[in-house]
Amino acid sequence: MTHEDDKTLTEALVAARQAGRACALATIVGTRGSTPRKVGARMLVDLSAGLTGTVGGGCGEAEVIDSAHRVLETGIPERVRVDLTEDFTTWSPAVCGGVMDVFVEVV
């Protein structure tokens, strides 16, 4: 992440926090193979303001958003393993060829 990405996300995090909105933060904590975003990439899921940042740009992001909803409900952080290796030959935009480990927590 660049300093600017960092700044944008931090501002969104702090704003959501100050407004008292429940948000979930997803962070890529590990990757194997080729993934669209690398370790440290973060996405803030704010149910009323939308998404800030990305952990995959379509690649497996839906799974992470599902997890964010669960985490917001239970309050318990989750570790999601997103596998992007299947169906290598389908040319689907979600095929990137790697596996990523995403940590999802309430902010």
Binding site: T2, I76, D101, F103
Partner: protein, 285 residues
């Protein structure tokens, strides 16, 4: 070392990292993201170690028990001490438990100092900001180093090229690009930069082979140590055939990334040779 054992949330941790790096310090934050026993009770607990140029060292947050905190601080310090440490999961041994500890490090923010506010400086300032540098643009002409021309620059400085860095402190986090309107000015700034203590991390100067050679002759005449010539990146940038100011900025930006990440500058196709390595005996790939 000061300690703040209160719970450290994601937002506070994120702000701590950002602020420390902007103020010239280093910080590491560790988050518990898993444990060998699978117990979720401390998942999400955080601890930070900050080294600030003015406020010294401090720790923030807690993992819930003193022995875990001690192990965490040790891990965070090791990450800060290792220049090549990458963000990622480290194992933390606490008693017979093994905790998965995700560590993120931020170093002091780097500064790109663009000397000369002309055609190359504009796309360069833009790309520098994109890459996370704090950008300073310097010129002796007030009409050139303007906010309209450099919306992303952090600082616009009017300076005389005979003493260009009077208001800009150069240090080991400075990346200097000399692109003034005249080679004479580039040279004057170059001499100043080479005599700076500490030396900037990067000194790039635009110019043809002939120009660069003439510059080196002049530098040696002036008594600049020959070993210092190796610190100059001139002609600046990677060989991508850049012609326009924008292309030149791409070439310089690529060089900065390459040096930062330890890349080779060779096309990845030639590094990986996927077709040759995996499909050698096939007619169709």
């Amino acid at each position: 070392m000061s300690t703040t054992p209160l719970e450290l949330g994601a937002a506070e941790a994120s702000r701590l990292l950002l602020q420390t790096s902007a103020e010239g310090g280093s910080a590491a934050v560790g988050t518990v993201v898993g444990a060998s026993d699978g117990a979720p009770q401390h998942r999400g607990a955080r601890m930070a170690l900050v080294r600030h140029p003015e406020h010294g060292a401090s720790t923030h947050g807690s993992l819930g028990d003193p022995s875990a905190d001690a192990a965490a601080v040790e891990r965070l310090a090791a990450a800060l001490d290792d220049r090549r440490a990458r963000d990622g999961i480290r194992a933390l041994h606490v008693g017979d438990r093994q905790i998965e500890f995700y560590v993120e490090v931020r170093r002091p923010i780097r500064e790109l100092v663009v000397v000369g506010a002309g055609h190359v400086a504009q796309p360069m300032a833009h790309m520098g900001a994109m890459l996370g540098y704090r950008v300073t643009v310097l010129d002796d002409r007030p009409d050139f180093a303007t906010r309209e021309r450099f919306p992303e620059a952090d600082r616009l400085v009017r300076a005389d090229f005979s003493d260009p860095f009077a208001d800009v402190s150069l240090n080991e986090r400075s990346f200097l690009l000399l692109v003034t309107r005249g080679h004479k000015y580039d040279y004057e700034c170059l001499v100043r930069a080479l005599r700076a203590h500490p030396l900037p991390a990067y000194i790039g100067m635009i110019g043809s082979r002939r120009r660069v050679r003439a510059t080196y002759v002049q530098l040696l005449d002036e008594g600049i140590d020959r070993a210092l010539l190796a610190r100059i990146h001139a002609p600046v940038g990677l060989d991508i055939g850049a012609e326009t100011p924008e292309e030149i900025a791409v070439s310089v930006a690529a060089e900065l990334v390459m040096l930062d990440r330890g890349g080779t500058g060779v096309p990845l196709r030639e590094v990986e040779r996927v077709a040759d390595r995996f499909f050698k005996d096939q007619d169709n790939i």
